[in-house]
């Protein structure tokens, strides 16, 4: 057994209840175990505790026993531990410790005091293992989100880890990137690696995992092997009750083509080239928006989605009055001391007459009214995103721009937020970039497919599905 956890519990400082309690799990060589559950159920805490990080870095109370390769990891020296265990947290950009890809991959091997020549010899293999096709001297800050995710996975494996713990490794990957990384993980597991991963994207992970552990309210709800690349019947029922997105349950129904209202924004021709780049990140694109439209931007990493959003929100070009953006990291637009102040900031600062009413309706629409007196930065990531969206909504924007609204949220939360926005933005337009094709099909009235900076197709979700099916049939 590579990893054994007995009766593990963790209570954050000042909390009444433990975030994780009585968790038992085992992980054998060659298997991939998926740990999933609703947002805030304790998955990440369990993973950090299993990695020993909650005990070493947290101020909370840790209970239970962890055995890594038969030994207590707390008794291992860091140089030894890194040869047994690799850990990748969320937010891959924040985990980069070196300035070049080669140095990033070498870091753990240097900690393990491996021979410099052996380190140099292993680097190309590591790049291949995680499917990263970049030069070793490439700057880490120049990588895309997907490339960074693969890099930190490679860095965690570098010193020869036998157990790999991953927290939402697919969060920033497009469907193809996610499939590629999962396939690589499966290959590594087949060679003896033990993998425990936390992930919301069940459809992308289930075909590659051996077992699934469902968590709810800090406890392990159930555990069982996968069945024909899906959940077994009992777990499927439980997952649906928890509000998780279970693959194969219902094919996404494309949103009906909505009748669009008057034009709310005509940004003209959008085009952008980053400083020092040899080609345009976004080729000339016309992007008029109408009232009632919900436009989804789909495409692989680096296709130009964020560039298009940046041009709309004024990040990469002129300011456009009436356009309000919520960045991928909602923390960066929360600057008031309470949720109520945060949501009220826009209408109060703009001195609109119905400021209080707007604030209340935005808070109710995003279900953050019960958090009104809480400090925004003390909330969970999903709650912070909802507060940020409510704060944007209270400004009655003509166009609301969201970058990856599904990140860190479970299915039910995303559905609730999108439904609320659908109601609240009848006189405005919503533009959102996402990797979640189902979300785009369910909620968008128009979908733009981008690739290499160009819009390669656009239309209503129904039209796009028909075109894709026709292409599939033609082949």
């Amino acid at each position: 057994m590579k990893l054994e956890i007995h009766d593990l519990g963790y209570t954050y400082p000042g909390a009444d209840q433990p975030s994780v309690a009585g968790a038992n799990l085992t992980l054998s060589a060659g298997e991939i175990v998926l740990l999933t559950g609703p947002t805030g159920c304790g998955k990440s805490t369990l993973l950090r505790a299993a990695a020993g990080l909650a005990g070493r870095h947290g101020q909370g109370t840790l209970a239970g026993e962890i055995r890594l390769c038969g030994r207590d990891p707390a008794e291992m020296a860091p140089a030894e531990r890194v040869r047994r265990l690799g850990f990748v947290a969320q937010e891959p950009q924040d985990q980069l410790v070196a300035s070049t890809v080669g140095d990033e991959l070498a870091f753990a091997m240097e900690s393990a005091r491996q021979d410099p020549q052996a380190i140099a010899a292993r680097l190309p293999d590591l790049l291949a293992q995680v499917g990263l096709q970049v030069e070793l001297e490439r700057a880490t800050l120049a990588l895309s989100g997907g490339q960074t995710q693969r890099l930190v996975c490679g860095a965690a494996l570098a010193a020869g880890a036998e157990v790999l713990l991953l927290d939402e490794p697919l969060a920033q990957l497009d469907p193809l990137g996610a499939q590629t990384l999962m396939r690589r993980l499966r290959e590594l597991a087949d060679q003896g690696l033990a993998v425990l991963m936390v992930e919301h994207r069940l459809a992308a992970t289930l075909p590659f995992v051996d077992r699934v552990i469902l968590m709810q309210a800090g406890r392990i709800h159930s555990e069982g092997p996968t069945h024909q690349s899906g959940l077994n019947a009992e777990q499927e029922r439980a997952a649906l009750e928890m509000g998780l997105s279970v693959p194969g349950q219902a094919a996404p129904v494309p949103a009906p083509s909505a009748s669009v209202g008057a034009q709310v924004l005509d940004p003209g021709t959008l085009q952008h080239r980053y400083w020092g780049a040899k080609r345009d990140a976004l080729l000339p694109t016309e992007f008029p928006l109408h009232a009632g439209e919900r436009v989804a931007l789909l495409g692989p990493n680096g296709a130009g989605k964020s560039t298009l959003l940046g041009l709309l929100t004024g990040q990469l070009g002129p300011e456009r009055p009436g356009v309000v953006g919520v960045p991928q990291d909602p923390d960066l637009c929360l600057f008031c001391s309470t949720v109520a102040d945060e949501v009220a900031y826009g209408p109060v600062d703009q001195r609109v007459p119905d400021a209080e009413q707007r604030t209340q309706s935005a808070m109710q629409a995003l279900s953050v009214d019960d958090l009104a007196s809480r400090a925004p930065h003390a909330l969970s990531r999903g709650q912070r995103l909802r507060v940020a969206v409510a704060a944007a909504l209270s400004c009655a924007p003509r166009v609301l721009v969201l970058d990856e609204p599904t990140s860190g949220q479970d299915h039910d939360q995303v559905e609730h937020m999108m439904q609320a926005l659908r109601e609240a933005l009848r006189d405005g337009a919503l533009v959102f970039a996402t990797h979640d094709v189902d979300l785009a099909l369910r909620h968008a009235t128009r979908v733009l497919l981008l690739e290499d900076g160009a819009v390669i197709a656009q239309g209503s979700p129904g039209e796009l599905v028909e075109r894709l099916l026709a292409m599939k049939g033609g082949r």
Binding site: P78, V97, A108, M109, E110, A159, D331, C333, L334, C336
Partner: protein, 266 residues
């Protein structure tokens, strides 16, 4: 160039900045300290922002020193009611602002041209305490990220509220302070993640590490340190001798050319 050489050059730039008082010499030092940063390549927008910030620093310092200079002798350039602009104050302000800019540019040149992990290795090799070395390199690593985040926060606020200048100075100041909250909160989260990431990669500040690319002082490094170090030592010696002369502590007639050089150029 070895990062230890860069640290040495940064130290020499600091000493030279303290030794110089002439605006011309400080201007030349400023240009020399900025050159590595320009050579490393910065975008036009950041160049414009940098020049605007430099102009604001020079203008603000010159104006405040020009108005409030109290040393004698002083020559009035312009008077309006109770306000007088003093020539010596302007010169002093110019020197002070150029000194600040030169030292800032030297630090920024070091920051943009030295990868944080190489800096960490250099600091460890120079036996700087591990905690301090790690903090320094981590701060350097996230400097550009924090700069970007400040821009994102300001833009997010601008989307939701009135322009910052449409409020009282007090309200403006309070708003600016509140805008630091998300940046600090994000930096705190990032610091925790980085600390865990370093731990997960087996980093032990007190333990020895192997190095994929060992630090190596080459001939160019030694030549640069010897040349610029000697020049800095000569500047410092000349300045000290001149201070001893002005303070009537030591005066040697044979050093008249040195005193004249200090008065004219330093």
């Amino acid at each position: 160039m070895d990062p230890r050489t860069r640290l040495g050059l940064l130290m020499f730039a600091g000493i030279a900045g303290l030794c110089l008082e002439s605006p011309l010499s400080l201007g030349i030092l400023c240009v020399l300290c900025t050159a590595p940063m320009l050579a490393a390549g910065i975008s036009a927008i950041w160049l414009r922002r940098g020049l605007a910030a430099a102009a604001a620093i020079v203008w603000g310092t010159c104006l405040s020193q020009g108005l409030f200079y109290a040393e004698q002798p002083r020559v009035a350039l312009f008077s309006l009611g109770p306000l007088t602009l003093w020539r010596e104050g302007l010169t002093y302000g110019l020197a002070q602002s150029l000194r600040l800019l030169a030292l800032s540019m030297a630090g920024l040149s070091m920051a943009v041209s030295t990868p944080p992990d190489r800096l960490l290795a250099a600091l460890r090799a120079l036996r700087v305490p591990s905690g301090l070395a790690l903090m320094t390199s981590a701060a350097l690593r996230f400097l550009p990220t924090v700069g970007q985040e400040i821009l994102v926060v300001r833009r997010a606020r601008a989307h939701r509220g009135r322009p910052v200048w449409k409020r009282t100075p007090w309200a403006w100041m309070m708003l600016e302070i509140s805008l630091l909250r998300p940046v600090v909160a994000r930096a705190w989260r990032r610091a925790l993640t980085l600390a865990e990431s370093l731990d997960a990669r087996g980093f032990d500040p007190s333990a020895a590490r192997s190095m994929r690319r060992p630090l190596q002082m080459k001939g160019l490094d030694w030549a640069a340190l010897a040349t610029i170090g000697s020049a800095t030592a000569a500047l410092a010696t000349a300045r000290i001798l001149h201070l001893l002369y002005v303070g009537e502590v030591i005066w040697w007639p044979s050093l008249r050319p040195v005193y004249a050089f200090v008065r004219a150029w330093l």
